[in-house]
Symmetry: C2
Subunit: 283 residues, 2 copies
């Protein structure tokens, strides 16, 4: 049997009771370590489970999944994913392989940022399409995510922006060589996301003078380490968010819709970093 | 300290390890029992936790929250919610009261249908706004949810439709009397939801002849008891869904966007109830 087990968002104890029982009895346990991270490390998980974990990086999951699935028809194998197992496309792909090979599997769900984001007080029913914001390089600066955010905003829907994670990505240079060199891990912060959004606003400004659009003073919500004991939430203008440091990863950014429900405004007020900006929330 | 604890979706063991530890140590433990239900009963939860639970119905939570919060500054009180604590507006309201009364609180997240719906193979990144479908009566047949579904569909986004739950609702007749009488609990099924959607389509047909719209033959996904051992998923045309019986609650319905990613179609194929309809998925 193959088990896909969500670990939730905080620490080792955010696994479900059912999930923990399975981890303890399995023959092999993989920890998926590139679509997300827990704020605690692999060692802490190993200590809590009382067993060794095998790290499953992008290369193993996407190019050598057969190693993970080996003997899954005879043995019990667990595949641990931060958040919920269906948060990333790559896990759907793994399930398809299981089905093709007629290997039995079970999914143990858990919280992911997609539902836990409700803790900022914005109603989950009022979120539109989720967007991913990629970390720009000097030569690669895509901005199609902005149109999705604006589309949600105009329809009065909030946007959850997932921020780029780069773990064990080969350097451009090394891809052509036989031995791969990897870039250091990099987790995009709310300030980097705000900075990229502001750059897009500057570029598009002339086009959208007459339209309902985001501006430098639009209020946005920054979230860090949701589900962990030291989680942080703050609300301020987009231009202020550029200077906010929410500390260690993972971060995400929420762009609220054009008008808020009174219950949402009231809830968000507690996270405001600037009294003057609060007034904007009250209308 | 006041704890809001998500129970997840399946059975007693879907609580997190952290959540279970808290339940065991609290002075009082409430089970919220009107915005959702677990497929297992209160007695099973009590047996697993080794303690009694207090049922929190709509009246208690919305009109007498002070009883729940009593002594929360001195004692440890847990409030258990099926799914994740921020799935329903009413819990956000409870958190606001905690803040107003300066009572410390902690949230233990868990899976909810909002992220677990990913198990049907449709990518969570491609879902638009969530809609709630209310159960019609003879005299009350609102259909504004249809426009939201159509809006998502046209933008190529999937719609998660949460289906109506009526637990401990007073009868119309009894509201004016001193003693309230309650209607029997009622959980909307995928076939009832499909039936209401078809009735809306018939009404709107003449208006939308030229437009991209849903039809009787649009493929929809029915889901029942997601996260439980006996979960069921099926995909078929809207008109066929009207006749599908997925058994015990809770059900939800997904209306996929106008075109699917190949990985999504491939995944959905396994749940198709009719070979001929499969062909529609392949384009």
């Amino acid at each position: 049997m193959f088990y896909l087990i969500g670990l939730g968002l905080g620490d080792a104890k955010d696994i479900t009771v059912k999930g923990l029982e399975i981890v303890k009895k399995c023959d092999r346990v993989y920890l998926e370590a590139y679509t997300s991270i827990l704020t605690i490390g692999k060692e802490n998980l190993e200590e809590f489970y009382g067993r060794k974990l095998l790290v499953a990086d992008r290369e193993l999951v996407e190019n050598n999944a057969d190693i993970i699935l080996e003997n899954a028809d005879k043995e019990d194998i667990a595949f641990l994913v931060v958040g919920d197992p269906f948060g990333a496309t790559t896990h759907t792909d793994l399930v398809l392989r299981l089905q093709q090979q007629k290997i039995k599997f079970q999914v143990i769900h858990n919280a992911s940022i997609i539902n836990a984001v409700g803790c900022c007080g914005l109603q989950l029913y009022s979120f539109g399409e989720i967007v991913s914001i990629p970390l720009w390089t000097e030569t690669w600066q895509p901005d199609s995510f902005y149109d999705k955010i604006l589309g949600n905003y105009k329809r009065n829907l909030h946007t959850l922006c997932l921020l780029d994670i780069k773990v064990k990505e080969p350097t451009l240079d090394s891809i052509v060589k036989k031995t791969k060199f990897y870039m250091p891990p990099k987790f995009m912060s709310v300030s980097e996301a705000a900075d990229q959004l502001l750059q897009i606003l500057e570029k598009k400004q002339s086009l959208s003078d007459q339209e309902l659009t985001l501006t430098h003073s639009s209020l946005v919500v920054g979230l860090a380490r949701i589900g962990a004991n030291d989680q942080e939430i703050c609300i301020c203008s987009l231009s202020k968010m550029r200077k906010i440091d929410l500390g260690l990863p993972l971060h995400c950014l929420v762009i609220p819709g054009n008008s808020l429900h009174p219950l949402e405004s009231e809830f968000l007020l507690q996270y405001a970093v600037d009294d003057k900006e609060l007034q904007l929330l009250k209308h």
